[in-house]
């Protein structure tokens, strides 16, 4: 909270949009602003009424550099917006930096998300130290409902809960890393880290950190689909390839490489393949193996084409792992295959499974 726990004395708060950004159609700005207020009215007794003229509690404007409050913006990036805590005059007023590019999606700064954050200030919330909270001071994009429990606790401390809360479908629960029945969508190495994809989330396992980090796929890569089917690293090219449906993306580090997505059929897979279950790169051979249903293909990375004689049956060439895989990875000379909650460690030299563990043993569960 701000000092003295500043808040509006009434639950009826007015707002007025003084001017509009040229970056978006007027209707999109109106919608983003209204939706941003709805974020807070859903969890409090607050009602927000739009005024078209005169002075409102929350005056909203777009301005660049010095824009009338002796609290200048700084050009593109850096400061995106600011808002004043509840009070008379400038209190509650919310200013957006017109030098930013505003969008209604993830391509530029998302106006709805920034407005939701700023209205938190305009209602009396200060910054949160919780990186998952809307009131965290640093911008990050994530689709869906923006409030965390920390934000809800904060605003309800000031105004109380909504006496008539709308029926809101809660966000799907994030997968729990030590759930014994946990299965994976995809596993890959990334510059010495291991990245595990599951539903809308991924874990980063760093060899020097005791606990894996869990993050939303969309918050790191907004433009890739929220579910990943397969992934593999080619360390010689310093690229990680991510597959979802019939499309593939390339990452250099955590950055998306331009020129993607591409269709998986460009690799030489037949059009009948609509999804890759798992992929892994074997550095010794320079081959990438793609697993789909009960078959697998071998792709020669150096020649840039599929090897002849494929697809072959998984069961015939990798005895002991079953006939389908969910995810696969190459790590320290061994192949790891994941199917349901089981991980198979497969020795290429011995041509057999040498260890079977739970999939989440990768998390030291």
């Amino acid at each position: 909270f701000f000092p003295r726990n500043l808040k509006w004395p009434s639950t009826n708060v007015t707002f007025r949009i003084e001017n509009y950004t040229p970056d978006l159609p007027k209707s999109d700005v109106d919608k983003a602003i209204r939706n941003a207020f709805n974020v807070w009215s859903e969890v409090t007794p607050l009602h927000f009424k739009k005024l078209h003229e005169g002075i409102a509690d929350i005056m909203i404007s777009f301005g660049a550099k010095e824009h009338g409050d002796f609290n200048p913006f700084d050009g593109q990036n850096g400061l995106l917006a600011h808002a004043y805590p509840p009070g008379i005059g400038i209190g509650g007023d919310t200013h957006f930096d017109e030098d930013e590019n505003w969008s209604k999606d993830s391509h530029e700064y998302n106006l709805f998300l920034v407005a939701s954050h700023e209205f938190g200030h305009a209602l009396g919330l200060s910054h949160s130290t919780d990186p998952g909270a809307l009131m965290y001071p640093v911008y990050s994009y994530a689709p869906g409902r923006p409030l965390s429990q920390d934000d809800i606790n904060g605003i309800q401390e000031l105004y109380g809960p909504n006496p008539n809360p709308p029926h809101v479908k809660p966000k799907p629960v994030a997968p729990e890393k030590c759930d014994p029945m946990l299965s994976f969508d995809a596993v890959t190495e990334l510059r010495g880290e291991t990245v595990v994809f599951k539903d809308r989330f991924y874990w980063r396992i760093h060899p020097q950190l005791p606990d894996p980090d869990q993050m939303l796929i969309k918050s790191t890569w907004p433009s890739i689909p929220k579910k990943v089917d397969a992934a593999y690293e080619n360390p010689e090219k310093d690229l990680v390839f991510i597959f979802s449906g019939i499309k593939m993306w390339a990452l250099n580090g955590y950055n998306l490489v331009e020129g993607y997505p591409k269709y998986i059929h460009k690799l030489g897979l037949p059009k009948s393949v609509r999804k890759i279950d798992a992929a892994l790169y074997v550095p010794d051979t320079g081959k990438t193996l793609f697993f789909t249903d009960e078959k697998y293909w071998s792709y020669d990375e150096r020649k840039g084409r599929m090897d002849v004689g494929y697809p072959r049956d998984i069961e015939d060439d990798f005895p002991g792992i079953g006939d389908e895989v969910d995810a696969a990875a190459f790590h320290y000379g061994h192949l790891y295959f994941y199917h349901n909650e089981i991980r198979f460690e497969y020795s290429l030299s011995a041509r057999k499974v040498i260890q079977i563990t739970r999939a989440n043993s990768i998390f030291n569960c």
Binding site: P3, N77, L79, A81, Y109, P137, V138, Y139
Partner: protein
């Protein structure tokens, strides 16, 4: 104030932008201060900032700290009275 010698690994540009950041968001006082004082105050403010962002609290402008300082963010100060 002269740049502190122990921070010699930091480029002047980074130092100045960090100072600006701390003035804006952590109430780092403006203007000249007594000898040795500027560095102490700055270090204290860097510590505050590192604690807020759950970084390793060293008081030094390490690369992680500078990286967070360069991220796009809200213009409202993180601590103290609204200015």
């Amino acid at each position: 104030a002269p740049l502190p010698t122990e921070e010699s690994g930091i480029e002047t540009k980074d130092w100045l932008s960090a100072e600006k950041y701390l003035r804006r968001f952590y109430n780092l006082p403006l203007g000249l201060q007594g000898a040795g004082k500027a560095s102490d105050t700055m270090r204290q403010k860097v510590r505050e900032m590192q604690a807020f962002f759950r970084l390793k609290v060293t008081g030094n402008l390490d690369s992680n700290t500078l990286e967070v300082m360069s991220m796009p963010r809200c213009g409202v100060p993180d601590v103290g009275e609204y200015n």
